[in-house]
Symmetry: C2
């Protein structure tokens, strides 16, 4: 019986929570950051829920929030930190390993290729 | 900006929790079920934690527990239900879609192939 706990135990809980994974997927794509309002809409979250998730990600230094107070009302922008990007890429590697292992256990046709050349070159 | 919430919102929380994913990965591989003791060891869990996770999975009818009282002390065996296997395979499909989307957003070299022919033939 295979011990599947290794890759799965590497799954960072701060990023594994589905809504936080959604948030990070949006933020990772925009190096200039994403406004609170856009993020809220993209992830279908309330102000309160988005705030709570951002607090966790900010405490882990995965994202940082900047406030711009130009014309009109203040605007909060969420930016992925360099360390956060590195952590996110490592998380995705762990997730891929966990998925591959789970699929194999379930006798599910594997559609994943092994990825020996995978490196976080965009980090 | 892509809306990544669709596949991610399909992630069943009952199976997404890392330790429950580990439990299911072990149980899915053994059609005759896995004893509580083996499962505890394979997933590196305490009795209390394994019990709590199994309760969630049992309430969702993903696994069922049977007690055998033969010679010696009672033995609890954890078996994945047919419905549970179906749910688990569907969860793995959602997880794969979420992973592919997140990796693409992060500019991570994709090592996943699209899987048009994927079907739960082992369900």
């Amino acid at each position: 019986m295979a011990k599947p706990n290794n890759p799965i135990d590497n799954l960072e809980r701060s990023m594994h929570e589905p809504k936080r994974l959604a948030i990070l997927s949006v933020v990772a794509a925009e190096s200039d950051g994403v406004s609170f309002g856009e993020l809220k809409e993209a992830c279908d979250l309330t102000d309160g829920n988005l705030n709570r998730h951002l607090k966790v990600l900010e405490e882990e230094k995965i994202v940082r929030l900047t406030k711009t107070t130009g014309e009109g009302r203040a605007r909060t922008v969420v930016i992925m930190t360099a360390a956060g990007r590195k952590k996110f890429l490592a998380y995705l590697d762990s997730l891929e390993a966990a998925l591959r292992q789970a699929a194999q256990s379930a006798g599910k046709p594997i559609s994943l290729q092994s990825s020996p050349g995978l490196s976080p070159e965009h980090a």
